[in-house]
């Protein structure tokens, strides 16, 4: 009786779902479908868009810029251990009771709510030839003349790795700190009594307890290199100098909005989607299965 009653009632429910489907369909799904279709055409918005089959994809594979992009992405991925270790150390330092935890948490966390657009403007000033970093280094005498952090091909990617570490450490710290509350404090106390030092307690007591959260974070960081570096590149380097900091998403943007190569950019974007999907589909189940570090 109740069942059929709710059944009848719930039939009219679809109104709750429609706004979401319309919004997501109009903004994300339909446009993404159009992009996938046009990745097989020489897309000229407003004009003829002849079918070119796989030509855009073949062009992507043979374009010399693609090699640069692969190299840049690989170098940025070297940052993942740093982006994981830093928040782990901070979270554990905050986990074992200390003074002013709230203050430290707020300080480390604040950059995580700022966007690349905002921190980027700030970092342009900090990394400029006459900016904070150079002034400090010149003052101490470590360097003789200002370092061009963002304008030298050999320095731009390491600089980005450090900026990203600065920006992401807060989110990781908050996440790991939350995970650590599930670690049995008696185990930590026992380890301490047995003479385990701070790093040993982190390595052998805490890390095994939160291994799957750490694994998730690692996968998320890898995905981020493909999905979320755009804002930083856009504000700080514009992909340069040359192509030395161009990532796939930035090249898509350049090709579509600066070079007018809409079909080619769409093919690149489809490849980006496939890569992100593979990382997530392979990575998250692996992370879920991680038990011990």
């Amino acid at each position: 009786m109740t069942e059929s009653l709710s059944g009848a009632r719930r039939r009219g429910d679809v109104g709750y779902l429609v706004p979401m489907l319309v919004l997501v369909g109009a903004v994300v799904l339909v446009p993404a479908g159009v992009a996938i279709f046009h990745s097989f055409t020489d897309w000229r918005p407003g004009g003829e868009s002849p079918w070119v089959g796989l030509a855009n994809y073949r062009e992507f594979l043979s374009n010399p810029v693609t090699g640069e992009i692969v190299k840049n992405t690989a170098v940025l991925l070297i940052g993942v251990p740093l982006w994981t270790a830093l928040p782990l150390l901070l979270a554990f330092a905050l986990h074992e009771r200390t003074r002013a935890t709230g203050f430290f948490r707020a300080v480390f966390f604040f950059p995580a709510v700022l966007s690349p657009a905002i921190i980027g403007i700030m970092f342009r000033g900090i990394l400029a030839p006459e900016g904070l970093v150079n002034e400090l280094l010149l003052g101490v005498g470590v360097v003789g003349e200002p370092v061009l952090w963002l304008d030298e091909a050999s320095l731009v990617k390491p600089t980005l790795i450090f900026v990203l570490a600065w920006a992401s450490v807060g989110a990781g710290t908050i996440l790991f700190a939350a995970a650590m509350t599930s670690v049995d404090n008696h185990l930590l106390e026992a380890a301490k009594l047995d003479g385990a030092n701070w790093l040993q307690r982190l390595r052998y007591v805490v890390l095994p307890g939160i291994a799957s959260v750490v694994a998730f974070w690692v996968v998320y960081q890898v995905v981020s290199v493909f999905l979320y570096v755009f804002g930083w590149i856009f504000i700080l380097t514009r992909g340069g100098p040359g192509y030395s900091s161009t990532t796939l998403d930035f090249d898509v943007y350049q090709n579509a909005f600066a070079n007018g190569l809409f079909g080619y950019a769409s093919a690149q974007a489809v490849c980006l989607l496939v890569i992100a999907a593979i990382v997530v589909i392979v990575g998250f189940p692996l992370a879920r299965r991680t038990r011990r570090a």
Partner: protein, 274 residues
């Protein structure tokens, strides 16, 4: 206690670790607020005096005041849309749990991995054809849509775990309609989650640059970050104006952060789930 020295040492290390996180903000603040003569003398230390000169200059030259207003319209629209749409959708998924519903839920949630560069190109073309670019409300709707997968995730998990199903059943037995249950029971009980979603959607979209750069053309509709950053190039030779622009762009987020830090934190950790 034997570990007081190590406690003190750790506290000291944490204090030192704070420096790279506080000093850049202090540097930016002082660069924006110190008199020009002061800046030429020394850039690193405390200023000898404070002035609003550069802030006023940035506000006037980059039209940041209008930018703040435009950002509020677009971001406000986006926050309202994502909260309403996600709450309605999450309520539907709370009431429907068949195989189709689960598939649909998974499909919408997995949209977060769709890179924005794939849909922004056709979206721009379609909106231009429809004459809908250069419109802050449309920009707001796009902001809302982008945050829907997260909003659905957060609210669905909250509805499912924090609202006892007995309450929902009791309401149904008492003859409350689905809409009455939603408005009088589900929404009031979910206020913390709704606040978290609103705060996160605010800070995420307030900082957007590229989407508004693509969808807005006329300078009188520029959002704050666009206004601040397109002029950041021009300000590169005027570091103090640049710092002032960054300071103005950052202030609203700092305010939201100070008031909603706990909510934002809980939202981020929930976002990682298990």
């Amino acid at each position: 206690m034997t570990n007081t020295t190590s406690q003190r040492f750790k506290f000291l290390v944490l204090l030192v670790a704070c420096v790279p996180f506080i000093y850049p903000f202090a540097f930016m603040f002082f660069t924006a607020m110190r008199p020009s003569e002061d800046y030429l003398e020394s850039r690193l230390g405390l200023p000898t005096a404070l002035t609003l000169e550069h802030v006023t200059y940035a506000l006037d030259n980059a039209e940041l005041g209008r930018g703040i207003l435009n950002s509020m319209i677009a971001v406000g629209t986006g926050v309202a849309i994502v909260v309403v749409v996600s709450a309605l959708g999450a309520y539907w998924f709370l009431r429907h749990s068949g195989r189709v519903a689960n598939l649909l839920l998974g499909a919408i949630l997995s949209l977060w991995i769709v890179p924005f560069v794939i849909y922004i190109i056709p979206l721009f073309v379609m909106l231009s054809d429809a004459g809908l670019t250069d419109n802050l409300l449309v920009l707001g709707a796009v902001y809302g849509a982008i945050n829907v997968p997260f909003g659905l995730y957060l609210l669905y998990a909250y509805f499912r775990d924090a609202i006892p199903s007995e309450i929902l059943q009791a309401a149904e037995v008492d003859g409350a309609s689905g809409w009455q249950t939603f408005v009088r029971i589900v929404l009031p009980l979910s206020r913390p989650a709704l606040a978290t979603l609103a705060a996160l959607a605010f800070v995420w979209t307030w900082g957007d640059l590229v989407i508004s750069l693509i969808l807005i053309q006329s300078s009188e509709r520029f959002t704050l970050t666009v206004a601040a950053s397109t002029l950041a190039g021009r300000f590169d030779s005027e570091p103090q104006a640049n710092a002032a622009a960054a300071l103005i762009a950052l202030l609203p987020i700092l305010i939201v952060f100070l008031f909603a830090q706990r909510a934002i934190r809980s939202g981020l950790t929930a976002g990682f789930g298990k």
